[in-house]
Amino acid sequence: MDEAKRLVELIPRLRRYARALVGDRSSADDLVQDTLERAWAKLHLYRRGTDLRAWLFTVMHNVHVNRVRAARSSDPLEDEMPELAQNGTQSDALLVRDLDRAIARLPADQRAVLLLVTLEDLSYDEVARTLGIPIGTVMSRLSRAREKLRAMMLGQSPTARLKLVK
């Protein structure tokens, strides 16, 4: 079946999204693995000829929501993010870490919208279907996510750091 081949091809995309969504590598790969297994179990629900990738993101979203619900009792994300090394060099690596950290701090539903739009380039319609929300909600979550992210990244700009050090 060619779905098997397509699934394998799509793994890097799934990993990238999962990594940005859950914040660490091994939980991300766990999420991808659960998604692939669920996809096999639910493959009869996939309509051939439609976008398999968008369908997989829907499956992943459902798996993720269930996992988060199961783990809700212990959700220390906010305070347990590792502190950044403040060595003053504003390298690309530091920017990536700042950004990753800021994304992790977005509310989960806004984070999913932002990532599906910017990282995965899904259309607003596809995002609405993937997450099972109205398109108006997609737009408002996108707007709020971006504004929060912008504010957080401004707070971590080099000039802001210098002011803090002083």
Binding site: I11, D29, L36, L99, L114
Partner: protein
Amino acid sequence: MSELPVTEADLQAYADGRLPEERRAAVEAWLAARPEEAERVAAYRRLAQEVRGAYETMLSEPVPARLAQAASRRRPWRRAAAAAGWLALGIAIGAPAGWQLRPERTVTQAAPDNMLIARRAAIAHATYSPEVRHPVEVGADDEQHLVAWLSKRLGVKVRAPKLDEAGMSLVGGRLLPGENGPVAQFMYQSQNGRRLTLYVRTEASRNRETAFRYARENNVGVFYWIDREIGYALASADLSKDELLRLANLVYKNLEP
């Protein structure tokens, strides 16, 4: 020219480059008169680019074996169902009467010790082969370390035989407790997800060699033999007896010094 008012959704779509041509000019004109808004939208564009850049390396990373397996595996649940049948038997492990392996060819004088290796290998196979997430402790991508580690713990040089010519590739291995010390288990898998495990233990009495023997219980078939100081048992619930024998021969040949 009466234009629709510019909405926040328009600005988002503009930042994403998704605004239809006819609307774009209106938004650009609107932004031109509002430098702060223009700066905000420009920042969104930069951020989108930075977000893509931040995770770009994930796309070129090699795919972990467990994910490739999960993507191509047809039906893990068949094995899981087989394992459920074993669960009841697992309870009987402590009560030897409840667990009777029947050698297919009756080997007279088959030492009980020899039977034990087949029994243990069958239990270990039934326990770990349905595992989806953690079938092994150390994966085949780190085979050198795996073999070195198991050799060290068993106190003899063990090797993971190459079975690729029979369509079985190494998944990895794990360490298990045994009667006379640690035992190694190597796991193999075919392209369509059929699994095979090789159970390797050290033998108390050396310089013994036995022929292949076959035992079967429930779904798990086991070929087992002793070669000098090492006892082997090759187990699978997914292969026919003939296929298993062919693989046992291949393992034996492969392990010849």
